[in-house]
Amino acid sequence: MFDLDRWREIFQSINKNRLRSVMSGFTVAFAILLFTLLFGVANGLGNFFKGAFADDAQNSMFVRVWKTSKPYKGLQTGRRVQLRNDDYNFVADEYEDKIQYQSARIYKNFSIKYKSEANTYNIRAVNPDHQFLEKTIIDDGRYLNERDLKEKSKVLVIGRLIKKDLFGEKVALGKRVNVNGSSFLVIGVFSDEGGDNEERIAYMPVTTAQSMYGNNDYISQINLGYNPNLSTDAAIAFGKKMERELRKRMDIHPDDQSALSVRNMAEANKFISTVMLALTLIIGFIGSGTLIAGIIGISNIMIFVIKERTKEFGIRKALGAKPSSIVGMVVQESVLITTLAGYAGLTLGTYILSLIGNSLEEDYFIKDPSVGSGIVIGATVILIISGLIAGYLPAKKAANIKPIEALRAD
């Protein structure tokens, strides 16, 4: 219902009582400003935590091996454990439905040479899925594919910084480089959010490495991405089970952590989500406290305002105003002020957060602080409702005072 006359009355009342309107507006605006900043900063902390693990996929698992530290089944300690293609295939077959991505990894350290430029780099021999496990971003060309593996192609995907070292500004794609004496074709250039070290790496097919360097089926490490449909707890259980099975398969003592272990991001995820939950609860508690303080503030001001206006209401009633029209007028005014002021606080808060941006990331672990539209809408709804209540309760009371008593009020 849009009643132009009603709005005119309200604007006149607000305009003629500026101090009062500004005071009540300020309370709300300030509460919402604090609320916005608080949530923004909390989100910033959360973003930082998430960003700290941005290098690898969130669902990564690594199977890694070293030397045994416990005797088992007559085998001595100090035995070097070696993962092989069989183990890789065992994991792939056994846990097919629990795995989204899988890749072997062999570490090499070779010199790569192009024309007169040469340097030693870490080289990883991997499967095509490795791209998703490491969140490798292809800038130019392509990543390794199944055909490269099958044909044991001598192809190389080089990091952005290797390309910079060897080729400078020139094109690297399609050029041949010398890797430890053999000629490899550069088929792609990548970048990685994990930092400079992750961009001074080259990838080659795992089969190529196995046939060229030792002609065996050894692999250094198995990287997995667990099925994202698994819950965190299910993923942790999967990791534990796989660890047990692999130890059993390789005659390793069931508790020998330093012989074979599965590092599971699900465990880190669980830790982070626990921390984030705690943070959210604390922020939610303080944030809603701030909001409630704001609401109580405006309610107090409204009570005072209505007391001040009791006589006016008495006059209006003597002139024929129904109680409902007085309640309506006050509520509408209150909702208008809370909504406008709240919106102002929200806008200011969002603006301040955008000014902060990433400037606090280094020292305070706050990255890209901002509030989501859900919070914004929720806070606005709470404001409107609180404006309603803050106006309605005292207005209802004032409107029901007998006009004769209202007129006597000063």
Partner: protein, 230 residues
């Protein structure tokens, strides 16, 4: 127009109860110009408040325009006040942040008349009380007499059946008192029932009928010279 039978009213004061009106019988016909006289505490304001539906009585019957006033809720009372009654108060009771013409137009707002129309009507009535040039002034820019004339214009703007004036001249000097009384006489001459409460003999003498109240009872009810002169 106004018929009151055996009206009682008491106010609770702590545990005690103060019996203010002790059985009032009063009949005011349409077009009368009546003043209620009495010292303070005689119950005259209480009587006016009950007549004006600003307060409720405890016992007895009150008929306004033939309608029995009983079990009034605020909404019904508001409608009746807006339709039948116009109020003039001793302390004017203008809304301080509204201009003279807006104050006069306010009852019409509650009648649901459009803004343009009600400002036109309000200006007409301000003209009638001689304040057309002051229409855009706020109450605190007006003298006491001017304020009371604005209040009178406001009381008249809905063309009420009865105008109720509670010590309308109480806050005014003698010159402005006369001009306000002249206005009330004019209103009465136009056929409106006027009901004045006062403690000033000079004011009461200008009305046509004086009802004297003492300790919550009517002690005399007589027509004045002014009424005989007509």
């Amino acid at each position: 127009m106004i018929k009151i039978e055996n009206l009682h009213k008491s106010y609770p004061i702590g545990k005690e109860s103060l019996h203010v009106l002790k059985g009032i019988d009063l009949h005011i016909k349409e077009g009368e110009f009546v003043s209620i006289m009495g010292s303070s505490g005689s119950g005259k304001s209480t009587l006016l408040n009950i007549v004006g539906l600003l307060d409720v009585h405890d016992e007895g019957n009150y008929f306004l325009n033939g309608q029995l006033i009983k079990d009034m809720n605020e909404k019904k009372a508001a409608l009746l006040r807006n339709k039948f009654l116009g109020f003039i108060f001793q302390s004017f009771n203008l809304i301080s942040y509204k201009t003279a013409v807006e104050n006069v137009a306010l009852p019409l707002y509650y009648k649901g008349i459009s803004r343009k129309e009600r400002l036109e009507i309000a200006l007409d009535y301000l003209d009638k009380v001689g304040l057309k040039d002051w229409a855009e002034h706020l109450p605190n820019e007006l003298s006491g007499g001017q304020k009371q004339r604005v209040a009178i214009a406001r009381a008249l703007v809905t063309k009420p059946k009865v105008v109720l004036a509670d010590e309308p001249t109480g806050a005014l000097d003698s010159t402005t008192t006369d001009s306000v009384m002249d206005l009330l006489k004019d209103i009465n001459d136009e056929g409106m029932t006027v009901f004045v409460i006062t403690h000033e003999e000079e004011v009461a003498e200008q009305t046509k009928r004086i009802v004297r109240l003492k300790d919550g009872r009517i002690i005399s009810d007589e027509l004045t010279k002014a009424s005989k002169a007509v």
